[in-house]
């Protein structure tokens, strides 16, 4: 009996988180369009629903009812699988992110995490790097040269940034002494104890790499509109295209959530219940993403590699070393 309840609970939690993330993705596009509009002295969507709030719904329904084109030179099987591979990892990370303090319901204590893995951070690192396979396969299977270049760029970019991305988290693991996200959140109970203040450089490297990992401006080379038309998803239409889009936004959300959890105290915060604080922090990071997009020009491919290997990677290594020394002394 107890097994069944916990199973139902898990299914419920998964469903809630999944729906929340999907809605989050949809409204992230709305936020992006609206905010970009205001950054650029425009209004953004206004006509579709109040403040254009129904815009993502309209986009979604339209894409469902759009013709699905399979290019004759494409590899049909891989073409179908690729968007799914790109779609899923963004959601997987949310499995280990603590959303709030445990609540008590019907006499049971329910932790607000889908799964409290004791190696949560490793799990996240593993899942986020999966998304690139989708992009690479999509680029190759489309049978278009623009897509191919986009896919190649994406893999190269991912390899270069994965290293610094992982290394940037090592000092935090050393400070926290744990791999579990729940414990990390517990350690950052007050603002002053946030890890971002204990090791700001780690956050800086993490955030730059995160933007590159999610293929967002100024590192959006795999889909660089002015160079590669639409990059790896040039040949995709209809729902498959929207799966790439949802995947991209889910990745952004999950990276923001990880940044909030690891560096900014997770769901901790006064007055409001935990989930609200997490959502607020995620939105703040999303705004940062959009702000970057409105401000920065795009880096060139080789400059991106240079930045990754010659600047961020040594910096991250040095950061690990220095943190180790400081911890040894103190």
């Amino acid at each position: 009996m107890a097994d069944l309840t916990s199973l139902i609970l898990i299914v419920l939690k998964v469903a809630v988180v999944f729906l929340a993330v999907i809605t989050g993705c949809a409204y992230a596009t709305w936020l992006e369009r609206k905010l970009l509009g205001h950054f650029q002295n425009r209004m953004g969507p206004t006509y579709v629903g109040p403040f254009g709030l129904f815009q993502p719904i309209a986009d979604g329904i339209k894409l469902i009812f759009k013709e699905d084109v399979v290019p004759s030179r494409g590899e049909r099987i891989f073409l179908t699988v690729a968007p799914m591979i790109a779609f899923i990892p963004g959601f997987l990370s949310f499995a280990v992110i603590p959303i709030g303090a445990a609540i008590t319901l019907f006499g049971r204590e329910i932790p607000l995490t889908v799964s409290d893995l004791n190696i949560g951070i490793l799990f996240i690192l593993a899942t986020t790097s999966l998304g690139v396979y989708g992009v690479a396969i999509a680029g190759w299977s489309s049978g278009s040269k623009y897509s191919l270049l986009g896919g190649i760029r994406s893999s190269a970019q991912m390899i270069s940034y994965e290293v610094a991305y992982g290394l940037s988290l090592v000092p935090i693991l050393m400070i926290a002494g744990t791999l579990s996200l729940n414990e990390m959140v517990a350690q950052q109970s007050t603002v002053l104890r946030w890890f971002v203040f204990r090791n700001p450089l780690a956050f800086l490297i993490f955030w730059i790499c995160a933007v590159a990992e999610t293929n967002r401006a100024p590192f959006d080379l795999p889909e660089a509109e002015s160079e590669l038309v639409a990059g790896y998803h040039t040949e995709y239409s209809s729902m498959r295209f929207s799966m790439f889009m949802i995947g991209e936004y889910a990745n952004m959300l999950s990276v923001s959530a990880v940044a909030a959890t690891v560096f900014f105290g997770g769901w901790n915060g006064p007055f409001l219940p935990g989930p609200w604080w997490l959502i607020a922090k995620v939105i703040a990071f999303m705004i940062m993403y959009i702000w970057f997009r409105a401000t920065f020009p795009r880096l060139r491919y080789d400059q991106l590699m240079d930045l990754g290997w010659k600047v961020l990677f040594p910096l991250a290594l040095a950061n690990v070393l220095v943190t180790g020394i400081v911890m040894y002394i103190v």
């Binding site: 950054f39 650029q40 425009r42 002015s226 160079e227 795009r298």
Partner: protein, 391 residues
């Protein structure tokens, strides 16, 4: 490259977000390094030169608008100056000042669109929206003088289509005060942006000798350090009366072109200010019966005026036989018109020296050895308008 590997041919265009219209460039790539770039033109070939042979002299003016559609007034000016030279017409001072004022406005217009689209190609997407926002101010002036936002056809042989509107002063003053502030904003956003500098410095380098060999003119030539500007070299339409400088670059790369064009915009504002303040009173067209239509009130009251009006608009006017080449400094470079007349009312042959077309020749030497992203930056910094390239 080992013998087993092959180069990849990438077809950029004719539909591509960053080729400024319908330019098609066939790139030969080794990885992402460009081995060769071959532009293919003609996707917007309109047959303007040929069509002009079938039109009366004054009917050609609207077609010149549609060549370089970012700088319609410059095109008008080049054409009417040529025909005026062939007819031996001297226009009143006011016309000269108004023409200078409006062509400099056109230069701003063209450079703003260049700035916006160039920045968009590099990835700074907000810039294009800012540039087009300011462009609306300039289009207001176009609309005030000619009634059309883009294709003004405002300059006519022997003068202007109509008198300058009374509220022009205020509109120009607004531009003169607002635009310098906005340009400061653009420069805050771009000039010292590390990514912007990284993307443009050292990219698409041309030496002065290369540029001259390739017949390149305009900001592209000036960015290599050659001080060649027809406004100073062969002043037309009274440019000798204005005080302005010609900015030149040092390295001849994309970043220098950016700086040169930004400074040119400042100089244009300076010229506009002088033209506005020194605008003399007087008629808005020369008094040449048979060529310049008589004033409208006269047409309604005087028999002779009515006859001239009728003759000009049905038969056109005759231009003495001969040929003449007149060049002006358009925003893109040397825009020349070579008109051959056989003594009739239509041009026997009209040749346009299109600056964009000739400048585009420099694309291949500029991009060899660069990356795909550099090709985009170079196309943007050459500042082409396909309407003029293909005509």
């Amino acid at each position: 490259m080992s013998p087993a590997t092959r180069t990849m041919t990438l077809n950029l265009g004719p539909q591509h977000p960053a080729t400024h219209g319908v330019l098609r460039v066939v790139l030969e790539l080794d990885g992402e390094t460009v081995l060769r770039a071959t532009p293919h033109l003609g996707y917007l070939h309109t047959g303007i030169e040929k069509t002009a042979e079938d039109k009366l002299y004054y009917k050609v003016i609207p077609m010149t608008d549609r060549m370089d559609y970012l700088a319609p007034m410059s095109n008008n000016l080049g054409y009417v100056l040529t025909v005026e030279k062939m007819l031996g017409i001297e226009v009143p001072e006011k016309v000269k000042f108004a023409r200078v004022l409006l062509t400099e406005l056109t230069r701003l217009n063209s450079h703003l669109v260049w700035l916006g689209t160039h920045a968009l190609d590099i990835g700074a997407m907000s810039m294009v929206l800012y540039a087009f926002r300011e462009r609306e101010m300039l289009l207001d002036v176009y609309e005030a003088v000619s009634g059309q936002r883009m294709m003004s056809t405002y300059f006519r042989v022997g003068g202007l289509a109509d008198d300058l509107p009374p509220d022009l002063d205020g509109k120009i003053k607004k531009i003169l005060t607002v635009l310098p502030q906005k340009m400061k904003e653009y420069e805050d956003l771009l000039s010292n942006n590390r990514i912007w500098i990284k993307r443009l410095t050292g990219v698409g380098k041309l030496t002065a000798q290369q540029a001259l060999d390739l017949s390149v003119t305009g900001p592209l030539l000036r960015s290599t350090g050659v001080k060649f500007d027809l406004r100073k070299a062969h002043p037309y339409s009274g440019y000798e009366k204005f005080d302005f400088d010609i900015p030149i670059g040092v390295n001849g790369d994309c970043y220098d072109r950016y700086l040169v064009r930004m400074e040119e915009m400042r100089q244009s504002l300076k010229i506009m200010k002088q033209a506005m303040e020194g605008m003399p009173e007087g008629p808005y067209r020369a008094d040449v019966p048979g060529v310049v239509p008589p004033p409208k009130p006269d047409v309604l009251t005087k028999m002779e005026a009515l006859i001239f009006h009728f003759k000009i608009y049905t038969e056109g006017f005759k231009v003495p036989a001969g040929s003449y080449y007149q060049a002006i400094e358009s925003p893109k470079g040397e825009l020349g018109y070579y008109i051959v007349s056989d003594g009739g009312t239509k041009p026997y042959r009209m040749r346009v020296r299109p600056p964009s077309f000739i400048n585009l020749q420099a694309l291949n030497p500029m991009v060899i050895g660069g990356l795909v992203a550099d090709v985009i930056a170079c196309i943007g910094s050459i500042d082409i308008v396909l309407g003029e390239v293909d005509r």
